[in-house]
């Protein structure tokens, strides 16, 4: 299937003013997003997520490589005709009302006055701001501004949606609503690229993820791929929640001698093993010592664990800065 958006060997070096310093924000990243897919770009602050999205929108120009939307180069304004964008920390002019904001930005996307006026009521209901249509934007809370931004991104019915930290500053209920809305959009075939440093957001919303670290792709895959232990070459362990009777201190010590880690927390144990063979070895030992196994539940390694593993290989501050 043709991808809705793609970046290929994308590099970005910022040259800052007179200091002649180079900041390498992206060093050759690749990914593609298909129509109807919710794709997550995950990484700590300064990883290059915003830079990537800005290049896709022609806000920033790539140093090398290519970014395309719906087959068009990101440099061409026409590529933005069917693209919606929710910028990070956006600020709409405070003197406009919600209705005026949507009208002005809708018309800048090529809609006629009639088309915008007809779409605004339904759109404001969709982002749950119908009663705020004629209130000035400067009176809006952070969450409301974010929802208005979403409405502005959707007004021209885009086929590609780029969202930079969309749930930033939004309460949990609002987050859920935004997630639902994105899911609806994806269901009707919109390709969605979602930037976040919040792992839980990505995990809950996205089909596929690319983890960025200091401007490079640390991993790409489905949530399942990434959280399934071995896929990453990251030393990972399988963790279990275990309830067992007859666990003596000597037995716990014995299990530790098998190179498994075990710790008691609130009446249950948390057990970490290398793999299934190792797990069975531990259970054999446990049974042989007369303990009775009541419960054994795998604790899925969450994306957060993977994420921390991926990014802790380097320091988390900004990418390499080198004088030119």
């Amino acid at each position: 299937m043709a991808s809705a958006l793609s970046v290929h060997a994308l590099e970005k070096v910022f040259r800052n003013g007179f200091s002649r310093r180079e900041i390498r924000a992206l060093s050759g990243i690749d990914f593609e997003v298909a129509p109807g897919e919710v794709f997550g770009l995950l990484g700590p602050n300064g990883a290059g997520k915003t830079t990537t999205v800005k290049i896709l929108l022609g806000l920033t120009f790539p140093t090398k490589g290519e970014a395309r939307i719906l087959g068009l180069s990101a440099r061409s304004p026409e590529s933005r005709r069917r693209t919606g964008y929710l910028p990070e920390g956006h600020r709409f002019p405070g003197y406009l009302t919600a209705r005026q904001t949507l009208s002005i930005f809708g018309r800048m996307a090529g809609l006629s006055r009639g088309e915008v006026e007809q779409r605004i009521p339904a759109l404001l209901s969709r982002v749950r701001l119908p009663e705020w249509a004629d209130v000035k934007v400067k009176k809006f809370s952070k969450g409301m501004t974010q929802r208005l931004g979403l409405a502005a991104a959707l007004i021209h019915k885009p086929e590609v949606l780029l969202l930079d930290e969309p749930t930033d500053g939004v309460d949990p209920v609002g987050r859920r609503e935004i997630r639902d809305l994105l899911r609806e959009e994806a269901a009707r075939g919109t390709a969605i690229l979602l930037n976040s440093h919040l792992l839980s957001e990505i995990e809950l919303t996205c089909d596929r993820v690319t983890v960025l670290r200091k401007g490079s792709v640390a991993a790409t895959g489905t949530i399942k791929d990434l959280t399934g232990a071995s896929a990453l070459g990251v030393s990972s362990q399988v963790r279990y929640r275990m309830v067992a009777y007859g666990m003596t201190p000597s037995l716990v010590g014995g299990i530790q001698q098998l190179d498994a880690s075990i710790a008691q927390t609130n009446g249950h144990f948390e057990l970490s093993v290398r793999d299934y063979a190792h797990l069975n070895q531990v259970i054999d030992r446990l049974r042989a010592e007369g303990a009775e196994l009541r419960e054994l539940t795998p604790l899925r390694s969450s994306l957060e664990d993977v994420f921390v593993d991926l990014v802790k290989t380097g320091d988390l501050d900004s990418p390499e800065v080198k004088p030119s």
Binding site: F14, K54, L57, G58, L59, T60, F61, P77, E78, S79, R80, R81, T83, Y85, P87, E88, G89, H90, R91, F92, P93, Y95, L96, Q100, S103, I104, F105, R107, M108, A109, G110, L111, S112, R113, A152
Partner: protein
């Protein structure tokens, strides 16, 4: 494609006007203008007999007419000449004051993303803002000039259309300075710097009207060349002011009519300066990383 440009243009113009309406400075400007116009209308009480002024009342007080009667045409003309000169200065400064923020505000973090992510190209976007700013300035100038012109006409029966044409030159000067303010805005993203440099340009260029004298007083050749070059490159702000007064007067009523100007030397070089400033602003804006 054409529809997109036109729609984006009007959306931007609308936004510029909505912002202006929301800004206190501009509301205050219109309020003050209106008060001025109303006071003017109420205060001027002319007694016109047979095309001549028999008596005039200002704030209810009789004005002494030296030598008996004054020809009403001349009085009106004198007033309109003076008023157009004042408006040239005040109107230009107010227009820059009211519009210089258009680019810096557009370029603010969190705002520029919203505009540039629309399918409108960067150059049409910047030009739309420019058009919006200019239209706003035109409204300001027209509001004052047309009202004064109407009041004077109604009260005296003297209708001098040349007074209105003077507004055209004022707008031309504003267009040139605004282009420069946009250029500074694109580079510095600062409203204060845009305003100050535009005012500075206005005065600097006015002083350079005397470039011959300044250059003659300079000891170094390159200094003199620089002064001459500066004069030819920069807008002819002082001569434009003069041109307005001459235009409004229709060549009469001046004690010492200034020497006729070469239109290319005044309007041509000024227009060229504005055009270059705007082109440069567009070029820089279209290459900027945000």
């Amino acid at each position: 494609m054409r529809a997109l440009w036109a729609r984006a243009l009007w959306a931007n113009v609308e936004e510029v006007f909505r912002e202006a309406a929301a800004r206190f400075t501009l509301v205050a400007y219109f309020a003050l203008s209106t008060v001025f116009i109303l006071l003017f209308a109420a205060a001027v009480n002319l007694d016109v007999v047979d095309g001549a002024l028999a008596g005039a009342k200002l704030f209810g007080k009789e004005i002494e007419m030296r030598g008996g009667k004054v020809e009403i045409d001349k009085l009106v003309l004198g007033f309109e000449m003076g008023f157009s000169a004042v408006l040239y200065l005040v109107g230009t400064f107010l227009a820059i004051f009211a519009t210089a923020h258009l680019v810096p505000r557009l370029q603010e973090k969190g705002t520029i993303d919203l505009y540039l992510s629309r399918p409108i190209g960067r150059v049409p976007l910047l030009l739309s803002r420019y058009a919006g700013g200019l239209l706003l300035a035109a409204f300001n100038v027209a509001y004052l000039m047309v009202s004064i012109w109407l009041i004077v006409g109604i009260k005296t029966g003297v209708w001098n259309e040349r007074f209105l044409f003077g507004g055209g030159i004022i707008l031309f000067a504003i267009a040139t300075l605004l282009a420069f303010a946009f250029l500074v805005g694109v580079v510095t993203s600062s409203t204060a710097v845009s305003i100050m440099t535009s005012y500075g340009l206005f005065f600097m260029a006015s002083i350079l009207t005397a470039h011959e004298k300044i250059a003659a007083a300079m000891s170094m050749d390159w200094g003199a060349s620089l002064v001459h070059a500066g004069y030819w490159v920069l807008p002819k702000t002082a001569q434009l002011g003069q041109a307005i007064v001459v235009l409004v007067s229709g060549g009469t009523g001046m004690h010492r009519p200034p020497p006729p100007v070469d239109p290319w030397a005044v309007y041509g070089t000024t227009g060229l300066f504005g055009l270059l400033a705007l082109t440069w602003a567009c070029w820089l804006f279209s290459r900027k990383d945000f």
